[in-house]
Subunit: 178 residues, 2 copies
DNA sequence: CAAATTCTGTAGCGATCGCTTCGGAAGGAT
DNA sequence: ATCCTTCCGAAGCGATCGCTACAGAATTTG
């Protein structure tokens, strides 16, 4: 979880071995390289701490309810006192001289954005949003809010601040009258 | 401007001297250290590429017009083809092992956020927003949108995408009827 | 109990980091 | 022309980077 807090490059092998309580050779025997270890960490992170996004959007019956839950849960997830602030996928590869690592996380973000755009289009087809709504704009807007919330969490915003942001962000959507 | 593109730590002295076409001793004679050079760069950046924010908010007669202009200009400023994407103040010290540098940029962001909150309070007093409006929530929300736009610009969003985001973001505000 | 195998912790590899020292070229004064 | 000052590029300083070779401990096997 040091990768989450400090990012990929700012976390050294010495930091990792000290935190894990193992020697460097054991680490390399188990994972092969720093990059492979990071890939492993990203995968675990995705299944553990990033999954609330897909869960919220899938489990709720309407896009509006899913987005509201996603943003509200993000406010909590990004400010948990027992975990690093913000989001590993968003922050860990910023200012990273390893292009492959930066690209890997960027690809994850792009995947989320495209999935969001598809869900918006589904909601348009279902009449939850007016025909002619700009699905990509709403998807990018939602990504902007999520990424901004993660950044603000790192800058010290607390859960209440971000929940208020989540509520405000929902007001921008052009829902059809319920 | 390498600091803008790659961040503080990911930019090495060798990168800087190569880009400037001078030797390392000249650089140290002129600026003292990498950190002092960065401070200088941040100051120039603030006066040159960050000033549109204060200009938009000050020069427009209403907060609504100022925010609209700020967000719209941010869409352009963060995606200029002749400059690095996004914003140095937001990105350059992410995942930075030098706490003083990270704190310096964080302080700039906090200053902007507090100034925004004051402007929202002014607008509430002026009747542009309803009494009882949560000024801090709106200020944090606006920072979230600006930081998220900067991040999305780095992820490849183009100017049109961000202008659409700017227009959407404005819809969240509880303006009193004009 | 002894021998063989796996594992772990230390030390060190080359490369690069921020930064500094030093030799030699350039230019002005006498 | 000679001397002196100024400046700049190459080389190198200790520290740290990701990574690995090797010795000794621990464990398994006969």
């Amino acid at each position: 979880m040091l990768f989450w807090e400090r990012g990929y490059e700012a976390t050294s092998i010495a930091d990792l071995t000290a935190a894990m309580g193992v020697g460097a050779p054991s680490l390399y025997a188990a994972f092969g390289s720093k990059r492979e270890l990071f890939d492993e960490v990203v995968q675990v992170y995705g299944q553990t701490y990033h999954a609330f996004i897909a869960r919220a959007l899938i489990e709720e019956p309407t896009l509006k309810a899913g987005l509201d839950r996603m943003l509200r849960e993000a406010a909590g997830a990004y400010t948990r006192p027992d975990l690093p602030r913000g989001c590993l996928v968003i922050s860990a590869a910023v200012n990273c001289n390893a292009p492959e690592v930066e690209q890997a996380l960027r690809a994850l973000r792009t995947t989320d954005l495209d999935a969001l755009e598809r869900l918006v289009n589904v909601a348009i087809d279902a009449g939850e949003l007016p025909a002619g709504t700009d699905a990509r704009a709403l998807a990018v807007y939602t990504s902007v809010v999520m990424q901004g919330m993660a950044q603000q969490a790192r800058d010290g915003a607390d859960r209440g601040d971000l929940e208020a942001v989540a509520a405000l962000a929902m007001r921008a959507w052009p829902w059809t009258a319920p």
